[in-house]
Every structure is written in C-alpha cells, then in structure tokens.
C-alpha cells in the first residue's frame, strides 16, 4: 500500500516528462510533417521529398558523410585506444585525451576557420613543400575533417574501456594456440572489443547527422546534410512543415539503422 503511494509520487513527474517531452514532440513533429502551412492534412511534403532529387541526394550525402566520419574516427581511434591500454600512466594520458572535449565545440570549430584558411596553418605547412595555397575551408572535406577531429575522443574512450576489460590471458591463450598477431586481433581482440566499438559508433554516427553548425561555419554555409536542411527550414525559410518532414524521414532511417545493427547474429549449430 505504502509502496503504491510512493510509486505514484515518484512516477508522476517522470511520466509528465515522458508525455510532454518525449511523446508529444514526436507526435507534433509527425503532425507538422503531414500538414501544410494552414494546418490542413497533406502528403505533399513527403511527395516533394521523394520526388525532388536534391532531397534524396542530400539524404544519401548525410549518411555517406556520417559513415565516413565514423570510419575515419574509428581507424584513428582504435590504435589509440589499444596503445593506451599498453602504456604506463594511463590515467594521465586518458585525462589529456578527454580534456579537449571539455572545450566548447564551437570554439574548436572556430579555431579551424583560422587553421584551414588560405593563409592558415595548414596552407603555411603546405607552402614549406612548395604546395598550395589549397582552398580547404568551406569544402565538404573541411566538414568531414573537423567533425572527425571533434568525435575522436568519443570513440577512443569506449574502445579503451572495452579493451581494458579483456582478460589478458585470453590474448595469451590465442598465441598459445598458434595464432599470429593478426589472427589474434582478427579472431579475439576485435570481437571482444566490439561492444566498445559499437558504442563508439553509436556515439558518433547519429550525432554527426546534426552537426549543422559545422557545415555552416566550416562547410561553406551550404546545405549538404539533412541536419543542415532541418535547421534551414526551421530557422531561415520558416517552412516548419517541410523541416518536420525531413525530421520524420531522419527518425525513420535512424530506426531502420538501429534495428539493423541491433540484431545479433545467430550462431550456427555444429553437429559432431
């Protein structure tokens, strides 16, 4: 009895939050996507999205860039995380890697306006080799580069934790059973550190769809991803219905991606 009262007491504010800030916003964005500016029901927003090649191209672009950012980040971060587990004074190194994430993202993005500029650090460096000046700032490459830079620590940490949890004896067991370094990585280290890689991918792939401020500041103010498109429709052209439509498509794609990656592969049974 008492328990029920307590539960109600705790549940009410939390449920209020769920209804107001989780369910209602989803319903509202869905509602906006299915109406026009005069609140009349319509499917024309979706029709426009799927008929107009620029949206589809943008969609592919978004996922392609998110994919690139994730992969490049992974390639740089995995060895970093691995080496981190092997080194002395790990706590200090780890702290040094986490520290930059505490600096406001916008400040770091702002720094790259200077670094990637025509007279910036990169071009000065290239000049030493008689190259350039290369126009880097305001290109898609700049966007991917800076996004990768920002996401690296968020990939390193989960992988580091996952590798750290692996029993070192298991690696030795693999070598003991005749596996080469590569085979040990391929068959033991990689699958065992996969949970960390997975959470790293999750921490990067979806958020990188929202980096509209980077496309604005670094990517040359062009609308190249769905995130930027949503921002454009909501904040600039004020066509909320179209913006909501893009949002709904993005949500749908996210769910598909999550369902696809969340599925655990069933193991084959062997008969002896």
């Amino acid at each position: 009895m008492n328990n029920k009262k307590a539960r109600a007491f705790f549940m009410v504010p939390y449920l209020m939050w769920i209804i107001l800030f989780v369910i209602l916003p989803i319903l509202l964005i869905l509602w906006y996507s299915l109406t026009d500016a005069n609140h009349h029901f319509t499917l024309s927003n979706f029709a426009l999205f799927f008929k107009n090649g620029t949206f589809l191209k943008m969609m592919l672009n978004s996922f392609w860039y998110a994919f690139l950012i994730t992969i490049i980040t992974l390639v740089i971060s995995y060895p970093t995380a691995y080496f981190l587990t092997k080194i002395k004074n790990q706590q200090i190194w780890l702290l040094l890697i986490i520290l930059p994430t505490w600096i406001n993202l916008l400040l770091k993005a702002y720094a790259f306006i200077g670094i990637l500029g025509n007279n910036g650090l990169v071009n000065k460096f290239l000049h030493l080799f008689g190259l350039g000046p290369v126009n880097i700032l305001f290109t898609d490459f700049a966007f991917i580069f800076v996004a990768t830079y920002i996401e690296i620590p968020f990939m390193i940490l989960p992988i580091y934790n996952a590798i750290k949890e692996i029993n070192p004896a298991v690696i030795q067991a693999s070598e003991d059973l005749g596996a080469s370094k590569w085979q040990t990585f391929r068959y033991v280290l990689w699958p065992l550190s996969w949970p960390g890689v997975e959470s790293g991918i999750q921490a990067i792939f979806i958020p990188s769809l929202s980096l509209f401020m980077l496309t604005r500041l670094i990517g040359g103010n062009r609308v190249i991803t769905l995130g930027t498109a949503i921002e454009e429709y909501f904040m600039t052209t004020m066509n909320w219905n179209m913006g909501a439509t893009i949002g709904v498509v993005l949500i749908f794609l996210m769910i598909v991606v999550m369902l696809l990656t969340g599925k655990k592969a069933k193991r084959k049974k062997v008969k002896l």
């Binding site: 029993n167 004896a169 298991v170 030795q172 067991a173 693999s174 070598e175 003991d176 059973l177 005749g178 596996a179 080469s180 085979q183 068959y187 033991v188 699958p191 065992l192 193991r267 049974k269 062997v270 002896l272």
Partner: protein, 382 residues
C-alpha cells in the same frame, strides 16, 4: 609442423628422453625483482611433473618461460633437442591450460576447442572429429554448442583442457588449473587429469601451491621457493626425505626442531640423544630435525622416548590431532588414531628412521653429493 623423429613415440617408452631442458635460467623483472635464480631442470617426455611452491616462488614464471610468454633474462630453453629460447609462443608445440581457463567468451564450446585447429587452417571435416574426440576425452560429449557462460567452473576447466590437447601438443602446461574449483571437484579433476595424461602419454607440467595436489598426481615434483629449486624428486622422496626446513615445512605437517649431530647416526634434540638414520655431517654440526606427526605414537610415559603433556585435542574423523608439550618445552603435533585425555602425561615413541636430519639450507646438489658418498653403506629409505 615439422614431423620429427619417427621413433619419438617409441622412445618415450624405452629411453628417457628430455623433452624440455632449462639451462641456467635467470629472470629479473624491470622493477628489479628477481623471480628466478639459475634454474636448471630436465623434463622427460611422457611424465607428470609438478612445480610446487608458495606464491612468488617463481613456479609460474618457469611455466611462462616454457610457454614463451616471458623471456628469460639469461639462460636457454631447449625443446626436443632445439634451442627455442627466442621462439614465439605461437610456434611452440606446447599448449597451456590457463589459471582461470582464459576461454574465449565470445565463442562457444566447439569454437573454443576448434580455435587452434582453425588457426592451422584445417578443413572443417578434419576439425570436427578432432574436437569430438577432445570433448570425449574430457567427458563433455554433447556440449559442443553450449555457450561458455552456461558452463560450471568444472566444465569450463574441461573445455580449457580440451582446447589445449586437441592440438596434440608434446607438452601440456597447467597453471594452477584446479585452484578455482571447490574441494570435491578438485579431487575428481585430479584423478581425471592423471587419467588423461596416462591416456595421451604426453608430458604434463602442473603448477600448484597445493602440496596435496602435487603429491597425489605427480611422477616428479620440483619444490620451489625464492626463485630457486629447493628439491626435486618423486612424491615419496620429497615427503619422506625433505632436504631442508622449507621443504619440510611446505610439504605436509611436521615437527621441526633444532638439533645437533653428535656423530654419524646419532643426533641430539629436545635435550635427549637419539639414534637416527642420517650421516655425512660434521660432528657437533647444528642441524634441523623433522618428525612427521603421523610417525609419533602415543604410549605410556615410561615407554616413550620423550614425555609430554597433552594440551589440545581435535577429532578429525579418521584421526586425532593432538598438541603436546614435552619436558623441554617443545611443542609436538601428533596424528594418532588413539585419543588421550587433556593434561594427561603421555609418552612419545618414534623409530630411528622417523627422524629426518637436515643440514640448514642444503641445496639439492650438496644433498646428492653427500648421499652418494654414503651410498651402499646403508640406504636412507626403509
């Protein structure tokens, strides 16, 4: 895998072949800790060996050096007539059963056992029967598709053994492999391990800190302490004839007293002179004397070689454990099938051959030399 010495298997029966030899192995860690000091040992093929010692004695380091996980600072490791000191663990015909099994948590039983064979790129048609045999050997038929997390400790232990023996190693290393199991299961596995070793006919090197385990399973034991081999020999040798106080204390329970050698075959301790079976020491040399608790008999005070007062008595099922103090204030531990009364005056009786006289800190080599000079005159064993 190079197939060498077609007669190897025949040899293991007829001639004693050293499959592993450690020559002057020293190991010093980066932090300055000296784990091993001039270890020399020979391992014959087809036998069950134990490396026995307390933690930090260096026994696991020896195992890791044989497996190849640790490089000796100095010295050489020979395997089957070849120097393998610098050989990668992956390339040694030696497999290990790890302390906490180190099974691959992401693979099931079949995949764990098949791991080594898959690495060798064997076709599945050859892998399957081998895995089946190995699982049969450890009595896990029908467990192939189980997940590791579904297995009990004892079953995981068996998978670890199967995973190692399926590769048909010439030597199997077992690192404290039974220490995580409960007592009953451990006993069971001791029998089974011994049976598996007999069946396979390969060398087992078993690291343990449990003297009972080592005594019950091994053909030969190396007792280690402080990075040195204290004594090696058959379980009976080591139990009956510990060569120093460490071995005496570590193997079994014992009454250890300071004493003085009067002359050959006569020793003094507890303020009395006794006949004994030991010789080869200097007259009046200070020695240590060991008498096993089960070698002490409780008799009437006038019949005893020593007289003592019983202090405590515990009934342990198959015998009594009695603590008594003799007239010289020495404490004695007695294992006897007869009980006694507390504070009762009792006599302690023992035969001359129950007295083991040891020089302080005598090494195995010195002991062997001393024994040799008296060989023939009288055997030390009864």
């Amino acid at each position: 895998m190079e197939e060498q010495a077609t007669g190897a298997s025949a040899c293991s029966y007829f001639c004693k072949m050293d499959i592993i030899q450690l020559k002057h192995i020293n190991k010093r860690y980066d932090d300055g800790f000296i784990a091993l000091k001039d270890i020399n040992l020979k391992i014959e093929s087809g036998k069950f060996y134990s490396l026995l010692g307390p933690s930090g004695s260096g026994k696991s380091t020896i195992l890791r050096i044989i497996a190849g996980f640790t490089q000796p600072t100095e010295g050489e490791v020979w395997f089957d007539g070849k120097n393998i000191t610098d050989l990668d663990p992956a390339k040694r015909q030696i497999n290990t059963v790890f302390q906490n099994y180190a099974l691959f948590p992401h693979l099931n039983v079949f995949e764990n056992v098949a791991f080594g064979l898959k690495i060798k790129k064997l076709p599945l048609s050859q892998i399957k029967p081998k895995v089946k045999d190995a699982l049969h050997m450890v009595r896990l038929d029908g467990y192939a598709n189980r997940e590791i997390s579904e297995l009990s400790g004892g079953q995981q232990q068996r998978v670890a053994i199967a995973r190692a023996i399926v590769n048909e190693p010439k030597v199997l290393l077992l690192d404290e492999s039974l220490s995580a199991l409960d007592k009953r299961l451990r006993k069971e596995m001791q029998f089974e391990l011994r049976a598996i070793q007999k069946k396979l006919g390969i060398t087992f090197i078993f690291v343990t800190h449990d003297q009972e385990e080592a005594l019950s399973m091994s053909d030969e034991i190396f007792v280690l302490n402080d990075g040195k081999i204290q004594q090696n020999g058959s379980p009976v040798d080591i139990y009956d004839e510990p060569i120093n106080d460490f071995v005496a204390r570590f193997i079994g329970e014992s009454n250890l007293l300071p004493g003085r050698m009067i002359q050959d075959y006569e020793v003094e301790f507890a303020n009395h002179h006794f006949q004994c079976a030991d010789a080869g020491m200097k007259a009046n040399e200070k020695v240590e004397v060991v008498i096993r608790p089960e070698d002490l008999d409780i008799v009437a005070p006038e019949k005893g070689k020593l007289v003592a007062t019983a202090q405590t008595q515990l009934f342990l099922g198959d015998h009594f454990e009695i603590k008594a103090i003799d007239t010289d204030e020495n404490e004695w531990l007695i294992h006897s099938t007869n009980g006694c009364q507390l504070n009762e005056r009792i006599g302690l009786y023992f035969d001359p051959e129950d007295i083991h006289v040891m020089r302080q800190h005598e090494s195995q080599a010195d002991f062997d030399a001393r024994l040799e000079s008296y060989e023939g005159e009288e055997s030390n064993d009864e």
